[in-house]
Structures are given as C-alpha cells and as structure tokens.
C-alpha cells in the first residue's frame, strides 16, 4: 500500500524528478501482483527445488529436523527400473487421460451451447449442470468411487435400462453393432462407446469447462449473427463460421485445464500412490522422484497437446 502511495505522490509532486506515468503504472502493477510473486518464490519455487533436491537424496527425519544424503540418480533408477507398479500405472493414467479429455471437451462445448440457448427453465438447468462442481469434489468424489451401494444401484439401473430396451432393439451391444454395420471406423466406435459408458464421470468432470465455454459464448456479440443471417447464412454456417472460431481459443484453455485437473485430482491412482509412498511408507526421496517423473510426464503431454492445438486453432482462424 504505502509504496504505491509514495509513487503516486512523487508523480504528482516534483515533475522534473518523477517517474513517467507508464513507469508509475508498471510499479503499481507489480505492487498488485506482489502477493502472488512473494508466494510464488517462497511457497512454490523454493519447495519445488527442495523436492528436486530430495529426489536426488535420502532424507531422514530426526528429532531436530532432517538430514539429506546425496545419492545421485539412485531414486530415479529405482522408480523407473525396479518398481513394478510405477510404469504400468503411469501408462494407464496417461491412456485414460488421452481418451477422456476429448470427450470432456466435446461434451462441455455441447452442454455450453445448449445452456446458451433461450428456453424455459434455463436458470434451473444451469444450476443443476454446475452442481457437480460444488457437490462432487475432493473427499466426496473419492467416497463415491469407493462406494459399493451406489455403484450397484447404478448397475441395476443400467441392467433395467438394457432389459427394458431389449425388445425395441436399442440394446447397448446392438447399438455397437449398428455403428459397425454402418461402416464406422472401429476407433471411432470405441470412442463413442467409451463416452456413453463413462457418462457420469464425464458430466462430473466438466463443470468448470462448461462455465468457461459458456462465458465465451456469451461474449460473442449478437450483431455478428444478425449480420450474417441478413446475408443469408444458415444456423449451421453461423455455428462454423462465427461461434466456433470465436470460441476456439477457449478449447486450448479448457484442454489444458482438463489435463491438469484429471492429472492432479486426488482420486487419481498415481496421486494416491505417491502420497502413500511418502507418508505411509516414509520413503521420502523415492516418493519425490516419483512425483518428479509424474510431473515431467504431465509437462511433456501438455506441451505436445498445446503445440498441436495452437497450430490447429491458428490454421482454423486464418
């Protein structure tokens, strides 16, 4: 606070010696983001380097603190070449993520377009769509995934659904056969079937993404649509020529957010594995090495994904 006021006074007082207006604004800008900068240095970068340090050493907690013995790459070697569980679960987590993210993005875009239309009870539908953001987070989610009755109830519901639809030929397996018989590529079919199978997880995981897409849709000026409709564009053309290009930067934002969210959610297999290694088994250096490999894997995937998406979006917007 005081620094900003000082800057202001200086600026207004002696004109010859004062900072220029833009310099003043820059100073104020740094002042405003200073909480983040301090936190970033003290509570982010410092622990990050410490954890890198731990991953290269053996850490022993003693009564008066802790001691570090440098052991080089031993921990990494252990994680990558000795531990039987790490690599398989890393690969499953990544594969799950790769299939889940496109489904979530498509679903949330679809849901946002639906919620952006005018209809009766829109406010109500919106509040229900965002309910999972509020009610299915953290401990609730992990309780749910381990819950027996709930999953069995869902199974019963599914069985009833398929049993009821048996006569009408809309059974799930037949749905798959239908897709096969119209000569869809198998990859595509698996994708759709997976999406239908996991609908609950998808809906639960896409609350914030719907929010971001919806805000993007709202920010498109209506006059654009009016003008193009006057020129004879159909709703379909409007969608591909106006809506999609205007929202496409948000696809990157949302993909990045979704990847981060699925990778760092506490119900993730890898996350619980690392946590139990560090706290239940007290293998501090080993766990830190795991965390670092996991982090690097995320970073690489995100880098590849955003590079591809940036190119696609740039190409589309030209």
């Amino acid at each position: 606070m005081s620094k900003g006021k000082m800057l202001n006074k200086k600026g207004q007082g002696s004109k010859g010696f004062s900072l220029s207006l833009s310099q003043q604004r820059a100073g104020l800008g740094y002042l405003f983001i200073s909480p983040f900068l301090i936190g970033f240095i003290l509570l982010f970068i410092t622990p990050l380097f410490q954890s890198l340090l731990y991953s290269f050493s053996n850490l022993n907690v003693t009564s008066t603190g802790y001691t570090l013995d440098f052991v080089g790459l031993t921990n990494y070697n252990q994680v990558l070449r000795v531990d039987p569980n790490f690599i398989p679960s890393l690969i499953t987590t990544i594969l799950q993520m790769v299939t889940k993210v496109p489904i979530i993005i498509i679903f949330s875009f679809f849901a946002a377009s639906l919620l952006n239309q005018k209809f009766k009870g829109r406010g109500f539908a919106r509040s229900i769509f965002f309910l999972p953001v509020i009610l299915t987070s953290g401990i609730i989610l992990s309780m749910e995934t381990s819950d027996l009755l709930l999953s069995s109830a869902q199974q019963v519901a599914e069985e009833e659904l398929t049993a009821g639809a048996m006569g009408s030929g809309l059974q799930f397996l037949q749905f798959r056969q239908l897709l096969f018989s119209i000569n869809m590529p198998p990859m595509f079919i698996n994708f759709i079937v997976l999406a239908v199978d996991q609908i609950y997880e998808i809906v639960i995981a896409s609350g914030v993404q719907i929010l971001i897409f919806l805000a993007g849709l709202q920010s498109i000026p209506l006059s654009l649509y009016e003008a193009s409709t006057m020129d004879g564009a159909t709703a379909w053309e409007n969608f591909w020529k106006i809506t999609f290009p205007m929202v496409s930067p948000l696809i990157i934002v949302n993909s990045v957010y979704t990847v981060i969210n699925t990778f760092t959610s506490p119900d993730n297999e890898m996350m619980s594995m690392i946590q139990s290694t560090i706290f239940s088994q007290s293998k501090f250096g080993f766990g830190s090495a795991m965390a670092w490999i996991y982090f690097l894997a995320i970073a690489i995937i995100l880098a590849i994904m955003s590079a591809i998406l940036l190119k696609l979006v740039a190409k589309y917007q030209q």
Binding site: G29, Q50, D147, I204, A215
Partner: protein, 329 residues
C-alpha cells in the same frame, strides 16, 4: 386486359403466401422438434447428475434390513433417522462443523482477497514480463500438489523466517502443523488449492469490464487503490461470489491439504473418511461393505448439506457471473 393482368398478379401473390405459410409451418415444426429434443437431452443430463445424490439420500434413510432386501430400491421400507443420529455422534458433527466452517471461511476469504488483487493487477496494468509472470500462474496450476507436498510439510513443521527463530531460541523452527497458519499463509500469497484458476477467472472478468469506468475515476482524482475498491470491486460482485464459492467448497471437501497439515484438528473430510470404521469398530469385528456404504452415504449427505444451502443462495450470482464475464483466451 387490365383485369386479366390484375388477376394474374392476384394469383401470384396468393401463391406466394401459401408457400410462405408452408415454410412457416415447417419452421415452427422443426423448432418444436428441436425444443423437444433439447428438453430430453437436458433432462437426461440432469438425471445423470441428480441420480447419485438421490440414491445417497435414499440410502441414508434406510435401515440395515432394507439394504439386504432385494425388493427395496430407492424408497426405503420405513424411513429411519438412526443413521443420521449415528453419523452425528460418530463425526462429532457440531464441533467438526464449527472447525471446518472456520477453516473454510478463513481460507476462502483470504484467497479471494489475494487472487482479486493479483487478477486485477494482471488485467489492468502494463509492466515488463507480464505475460511471462502470467505463464507462471498457469505453471502453479500445472505442478501436481504431490510434488510440493513433502517440502511444504517440512517447511511448516520447522517454520522459520530466514533462520531468525533458530538464532533466537536455538530450536529448529516453529511447528505450525495442526494450526490454521499453513492455510492462512498459502492463502494470503495466492498459493492455495487451484488459486491459479481463480486468478485466471478474475483477470478475464476485469479485462472484460469497460476501461472508461476507471478513467472517469482517475480524472476525478482517485488513486489506483481507491479506484480498485470503490469502482471495480462493486461491479465485480458476481465473479467475487463465484470465486468465494469455489474456494469455500473446495476447502470444505478437501482431504489432501487438511490431512497433510492437520492431524488433531479434525475437519469434515477427515471425519467422513473414517466415519464407518469409527462407528462400527467397537460393536462388530467384521463390518459389512453394505453397512459401511450406508454410513458413508449418510455422512456424505451431512457434509454436502451445508454446501447445498450455500449453493442455493449463491447460484444466482454464479450464473450471472457467467453472463457478464467475457472470457476470451
């Protein structure tokens, strides 16, 4: 001649109107079909979201006998509140509620304050390395909390500011665990759970607000800070409520940080995790999974009920903040 011409014109116009009428009917029909399809889709998704909640609620009202009865689906045979009474005692609900409320309120209000200030800084000021620093905000979101878990734990276990405390007392730092300090410190410095997301959302909202508002305030002689809290904050209430809601709820249900920093200070998430074991372990040597599940469902309802009430009040702002923020990449 003229008559004939007139007739033909008449015929022509008639023809057009009929065509148009057909088109109008077709348009109306397709509109109706679409609104029906839309209703079905939205209803379906709402059902998918609400079904587990309703199941949980139904299960929490069941007695043990209902669990094993195959004819009981969703609606319990006779409604009993025994589960709630058990869970209430088992979680020490009133006291836990108070503690969790204090923790969540403190953390979310501080996070809201720091993230708002930082978000405004990013939205409205030009300074060197701004984009680089903003990338760092995203980086904070990106690093899994697991990576930072151990150093932060040790940091707060042996908390010290540049070794000052050790110099004065000879002890290796202050133990800040089992207090609210870790949460207060991380929140003040915008390093709490998902604070990068809040900064991002707030920045976008402030960016979407008209600059003229502030310019007018500057011309009237307001300082940057006065402009910020007199002009910008009042018009940002919807997004502020949204971020507060996120912060509060995610702190309320968070089990990661609370289990990391707190062991004797019991909060909801910890209580819920060990609820079934707490209640039944004294009576039974083997706890059936169905019983555990019933208790967990009851506990879950107890934990999310306050959140639900909060959401009922806040959702108006929540939806409004979407309508007014112009989030564009």
């Amino acid at each position: 001649m003229e008559l004939i011409a007139k007739k033909s014109v008449n015929k022509n116009t008639n023809h057009v109107t009929i065509q148009e009428r057909f088109r109008g009917i077709a348009r109306k029909g397709s509109k109706l079909t679409w609104s029906f399809v839309r209703f079905v889709i939205i209803f379906g998704i709402c059902f998918v979201i609400l079904q587990p909640l309703l199941t949980k609620f139904a299960v929490s009202l069941m007695s043990e006998a209902d669990l094993y009865d195959a004819t009981v689906q969703y609606v319990p045979r006779e409604i009993t509140f025994q589960n709630y009474i058990d869970a209430f005692v088992g979680m020490d609900y009133a006291a836990t509620f108070g503690r969790t409320l204090a923790l969540s309120l403190i953390a979310s209000v501080l996070q809201l304050a720091s993230c708002t200030i930082v978000g405004y800084g990013f939205a409205r000021f030009k300074f060197p390395f701004k984009n680089t620093i903003f990338m760092l905000v995203i980086l904070c979101l990106l690093v899994p909390p697991m990576t930072l878990m151990l150093p932060l734990f040790l940091h707060f276990r042996f908390f010290d500011i540049f070794g000052l405390f050790e110099m004065m007392s000879g002890k290796p730092g202050i133990n800040l665990l089992d207090s609210l300090w870790p949460f207060v410190l991380t929140s003040i410095f915008a390093q709490g759970y998902k604070n990068g997301l809040y900064i991002f959302l707030l920045r976008q909202y402030f960016k979407g607000m008209p600059v003229e508002l502030e310019e007018a305030a500057y011309i009237d002689g307001c300082s940057a800070f006065k402009t910020f809290y007199k002009v910008m904050l009042p018009s940002a209430v919807p997004i502020l409520v949204t971020v507060f809601l996120f912060g509060f709820v995610w702190q309320w249900t968070d089990s990661f940080y609370s289990s990391l920093y707190l062991s004797d200070f019991k909060v909801m998430s910890g209580g819920l995790g060990s609820l079934a074991a707490n209640i039944y372990s004294s009576e039974l040597s083997f706890i059936s999974p169905a019983l555990t599940s019933m208790m967990n469902n009851t506990g879950t309802i107890l934990v999310i009920f306050p959140l639900f009430v909060l959401y009922l009040f806040a959702q108006r702002y929540f939806v409004e903040s979407i309508e007014r923020s112009g989030i564009v990449g």
